[in-house]
Symmetry: C2
Subunit: 483 residues, 2 copies
């Protein structure tokens, strides 16, 4: 016989079925008792709110009630009644109650008190049972779904690009090697090199840093596609903004120029933020409160001017500022922190790479809104970006968000075969290895564009979590691959 | 100025805007000309159908028309008119036409003729431009979206479980090593072993074979979750059903017993097949025709009795047969192929593992519908499966589909700490390494279940493609990691 005839707390709170008999199952957050009555706050993860269970010791035997402690799981059947207490519309009067699993109060680490994020990171296998992480992962889900729905409604097709790849031509960073060779006794060629012909794929392979090049192949057939998959960087970056394994969304669109690309990216970002606001109101209200408490503890000069919800609404209500790199350099050159030498990297001339401090100045101090910077010098951008007619810049764009910095990077792609191969030559990128990529320019080449969104940075932005390790279930960082 | 003011062919076919001026962009499939008129079949990947462009040499200059060959990309503006020809409702009379990119007929491999799947696999970077692969990847998208929508509507949360993992406890198969160590000169411990403390994660890591164990952690907090991510097997299986890199969907649900699990899996499979039938009618009609042509070429005894669409409708219209492993063994023992020794592996006694030939017999000959086999001997199943009271079997289920065999594997999970650790001891699985998994049983354990669906096998089933390499954009198999 099926076991799961329960109602979810989310649905009870929505439907308020006063008078109905229902069965709830979940985990106990707290228990308060006196001689006459026991109150249990039950959470089942379907929503951030707990539901109040009222147990009369004349109905539920005391032995059972004693086994109920924070973290224990129960199955409870009873009647929904209008609540007399503050803070809830209704509550459940228990008619029968079963403890499914106990949680020894001496050992269970999530006792009802404030835990630091650092401590919770060490017990990432349990932290989803807290309000903060429950909220973060439900919002993460809402954002994921919004992304799929956005592209689906626009007629984009979801493409799964390869995770294991032999191509490292993009040069986007350090890669992880993938191998089945015996590390102690790898087969060697007569010249004493590792003989990758003996490896699983009969060549050297690594974990992908981006699905873009393969995404372009798909866009050259299906017009508009997107990826949403894991990508990897073997960089020794121990910061609050870097993961070794993270998820990226990479749309690639045939027949889009740089402006179409900017329009799409802005519309997309606003859509998913709006979706989260509309579909995760309870979780975001909790996270807003949390962010505001955290903010109040900071020194005055580090405090955000806006609250979390205010910041999210601000993004969807305002047009992003669009400026060229050249304009950005002019603004930065004349800026106070540059003149007063407060920047660590002073902006002296055109061609300088923008650092995080410069991006933050533009977004947070100068424009006070999201900024799309376009037309970067070609020497600081990737080989596949479309070369502008000035012969100095490429049709790149970076989108900068307050508090986060770069959240999107993209470009129109170079669709001219000659220009592309010429640039590859300058950068010593093998045409032979990338013959398949070049075939899209050789046969029916079209103007096309695309961008990449780092998913975890987006989740950070929407949830207000300061550390990227707190927005992915099981973070992978240097020295850490727990769980 | 934005470039992309085009209409998609899908929308023109839906809206039939007779009399409107529109701009189309896409790739030329064929061109037919006589002195008075040129007909161009244009495809933009938004839908399987081509759209007919009519070009009058008095309007579009001949030099431009000459550059139009199969595979070339064009931008064409003109008026939509009711079509005189058969096969389409409307067509576009070109007023201006621009060639975006040529495709040299001497070099472009996709000339209008029949190409073998083997040949197309070698040019996987271009094969999405064919009708067959366009259809396959649009259907793959529809199935992906249906999966997210199904779980989202049921209140499940999407969890991204780790790709790189230090846990290999599940023992589901050979894994790929992930490392940043120098393969030629790896650091060694004083004992001469590889010193993984020097590796990126300071331990040995590999690519995940399943997100299940981490999914369970999330289900113990959020109730109902699912993963949809890549998984890996470093097995040297060169078959039409195996990939080294493939995508899996793994729902995990707190408060579900084995029967709830079966109910969910059956409902889920029917939902996504129904979704594809309703949302990809053109692509599936094409693939149905293709499958029927292929079927007709096979020897009589290998032919399917049902067409593709018929088979899909059959699945959604019929209840899956549910039998225990013990019942399956009885049926197989008494079966003709067993008595006549036609099975390669004869079924002699209870405890035997079911081979593909046995599964196919049950599904295709005996029941002639999908079969859920439950309650397998514990010795042929994984350690985490719930032990039944008979002490011999576990609450496992495999779902078998015609033509594909096992498409889903799942179970109720063992939620009893003592039984679980006892079984781990018997199988020599370290409790220390899996302390985090055991914590879910230690603290607030609940009955829970889950299953895994191999996504590519599902896409195979729905598209009727015989080789799994033809349902993922860039397949990874032994010796092959192209593109």
């Amino acid at each position: 016989m099926a076991f799961n005839k329960r109602s979810k707390i989310r649905s009870i709170l929505e439907k308020k079925p006063i008078g109905d008999q229902v069965t709830l199952m979940g985990w106990v957050r707290t228990k308060r008792s006196n001689k006459n009555i026991t109150f249990i706050a039950l959470n089942d993860g379907s929503i951030i709110q707990n539901y109040q269970i009222v147990a009369d010791p004349n109905v539920i035997d005391e032995k059972t009630l004693r086994r109920i402690t924070t973290g224990a799981s129960i199955k409870v059947t009873g009647k929904v009644v209008a609540s007399q207490g503050a803070g809830q519309d209704s509550e459940l009067v228990a008619e029968s109650l079963e403890v499914l699993g106990e949680a020894d109060p001496e050992k269970y680490p999530l006792q009802p008190k404030k835990h630091s994020l650092e401590f919770l990171r060490e017990i990432a296998h349990l932290r989803m049972r807290t309000n903060t992480f429950g909220a973060v992962f439900r919002v993460r889900h809402a954002l994921s779904f919004a992304i799929h729905q956005y592209f689906h409604e626009k007629g984009f097709y979801y493409i799964h690009t390869p995770i294991i790849t032999a191509s490292d031509a993009e040069g986007a960073g350090e890669t992880f090697k993938v191998t089945t060779l015996d590390p102690k006794n790898p087969p060697l060629t007569p010249e004493g090199e590792i003989d990758y012909k003996e490896d699983f794929f009969e060549r050297e392979t690594n974990l992908t840093v981006s699905g873009q090049l393969e995404g372009e192949l798909a866009a050259m057939a299906l017009s508009e596609v997107y990826t949403f998959g894991p990508t990897f960087r073997a960089e020794n970056s121990n910061t609050t903004r870097h993961l070794a394994e993270f998820w990226m969304i990479e749309p690639e669109m045939a027949f889009y120029d740089a402006e179409d690309n900017q329009d799409l990216a802005e519309d997309f970002l606003k859509y998913i933020i709006k979706y989260a606001l509309e579909n995760s109101p309870k979780d975001l209200a909790f996270l807003d409160k949390r962010a505001s408490d955290e903010n109040a503890k900071k020194p005055a000069n580090e405090r955000s001017e806006m609250g979390l919800l205010e910041r999210l609404k601000f993004i969807i209500d305002n047009e992003f500022e669009r400026i060229t790199y050249t304009e950005a350099i002019e603004i930065l050159k004349k800026s106070k922190p540059n003149k007063k030498k407060k920047f660590k990297y002073l902006i002296e001339e055109w061609g300088a790479d923008l650092q995080s401090e410069h991006e933050r100045f533009l977004v947070e101090k100068h424009f006070k809104k999201p900024v799309i910077i376009t037309d970067y010098p070609k020497d600081i951008k990737a080989f596949y970006m479309k070369q502008n007619e000035d012969d100095k810049t490429v049709a790149a764009m970076d989108i900068l968000f307050p508090g986060i910095g770069e959240i999107v990077g993209g470009s129109q792609r170079e669709d001219n075969m000659e220009k592309l191969t010429c640039r590859m030559g300058q950068l010593d990128i093998s045409e032979e290895e990338l013959f398949w990529y070049l075939d899209t320019r050789r046969f029916g080449s079209v103007p096309h564009s695309g961008f990449g969104l780092g998913f975890e940075r987006m989740v950070q932005f929407v949830t207000g979590m300061g550390n990227i390790r707190d927005v992915i279930a099981f973070p992978r960082t240097p020295g850490s691959a727990e769980f």
